[in-house]
Amino acid sequence: MTAETLIPVPTGQRAEREERRRSRRGYRGTGPKQSPVSRAVAMTVMVVFTLYTLIPLWWLVVASSKSRGQLLTTNGLWFADFNLFKNIGDMLAYGDGIFGRWMLNSILYAGVGGFLATLLAGMCGYALAKYRFRGRETLFNVVLGGVLVPATALALPLFLLFSKVQLTDTIWAVLLPSIVSPFGVYLSRIFAAASVPDELMEAARLDGSGELRTFFTIAVRLMTPALVTVFLFQFVAIWNNFFLPLIMLRSTELFPVTFGLYTWNTQINQVPELRTFVLSGAFLSIIPLVVTFLLLQRYWRNGLGSGSLK
């Protein structure tokens, strides 16, 4: 679990270039021709599994465009009367617009939490990588131990601690624990060691720049790909977090969107119109995540390889 046992992977944009190079002619040029049978088998396997990954999402899009009656009576995989915008409008209006509130909460928790977590992890990882000081290895090992502590194991004790200081059922109960990302420190340390040269720090020193200024003006820029990765992973971790809101929050107006949708889903049998709202809400809530992931592919793909952690 130390930096030495890491899997060597292409960093920067090398992974993408490597992939393109290989698919262009890399293997085929020199070797014996692949048999058409094995090619057909391979493609079939890939296509069948694509159906498995995409059909549920396709169904969600179709289902959230249907009225409640047609949801049950029409073919689930194709559109009936197109009610998507009406459904979304009704859903947004339900319960004094609580869904919009939930979306904003999620953006606040995940956005602010992710940003601060990235900043702190970047600073700490940089210090661990670029300075020698007593206790450095101990500190890094403690951080690694933190990576292995599952977040859900902390939810209950955090709840007990927060109730001691009467902060349960507040924004802080979800936001504050989200600012700590040991995994972020781990990634930042690796990237800082690889991407910030000592010579550059020395040159900045000679130019009279203080250590902190060097970090915030020069190192941060060099570490940007890593920091974007840390931000994305923390953003997703907070957005998906379930145990913490479940145990901490009682007031519906503080819920993040995933937890809000969960509570709607538990009431489907009592409040039938919630069924369409859960579906259109689920559809609406995953759009920001999917779009972010697709836009920032270059970053997280590199992060995935270098950390090999969840």
Partner: protein, 309 residues
Amino acid sequence: MTATSATARAEAPARPPRRRIRTPHKRAIIALVAPFLVLFALFYALPVAYAVWESLLVVQRDGTFGPATEVFGGLQQYALVFQDQAFWGSVGRVLLFGVVQVPVMLGLALVFALLLDSPLVKGKRFFRLAYFVPYAVPGVIAAIMWGFLFSPNLSPFAALTKAVPFLGADLVLWSIANVVTWVYVGYNMLIIYSALLAVPQEIYEAARLDGAGQFRMAWSIKIPIVRPAILMTAVFSIIGTLQLLAEPQVFASFSSAVTSTYTPNMTIYATSSLPNYNLAAAFSVVLALATFILSFTFLKVTQRKGQDA
């Protein structure tokens, strides 16, 4: 001289250093490290310590309706933990889940990564994305979606879901396993695929000259090389399995077979809502320890095997 200073450094913790070397940029280091460290102490280390402390307390009442006070009870809560059949039932359930789901998911991830890395597949960019997209769907949402897809009435595959009780007591665990697999298979595939992209082409060219086919190359070269990546994904899948919460909690709305103590974390939540915080804390400590021991043992065993090979 180098040798002596090396030994001195190695023994440093044992005896006080003769000459304390001043750390340059001490204040900058503190400023960079302290913010994370303080929050880590508050929201990671302190909760762990506090959970251990709470788990050592018992609630005592004066009479039946007297005020409750927490007093030190030693390992009493742990005695209760070990007698708690619901808790161990839930642990057994997630272990069974993990023994089946983790190998299936990682096996699929490995096959897809190898196919993507082979010349047999075209449109790599498309497949890579299509397989990864589910990872962007939060576990709760994925579970809600699949809950509908598995339900006998709402599913677009109602003919199948009416015939097979996916949400019944026998199959619901594997329906949940399907949700987890759906979300994470592409993610794990990408990790393994990234590791494959790092292998230098020259190795393959040498193998090709020796007459190795695609299958032989995958088996004898690629899989051994990406072994560390597979081990990492395995450890984190094991940790994830023991922590299962969101998916089964959602499935409880679709299936009466999913009880409030279906997984260890659900047991912890149910116990804390009683409320019995001390017992819930003891459950948390036992679960965290079990997770640690399991993932460490897994790493040790696989590492030893790797050295033998």
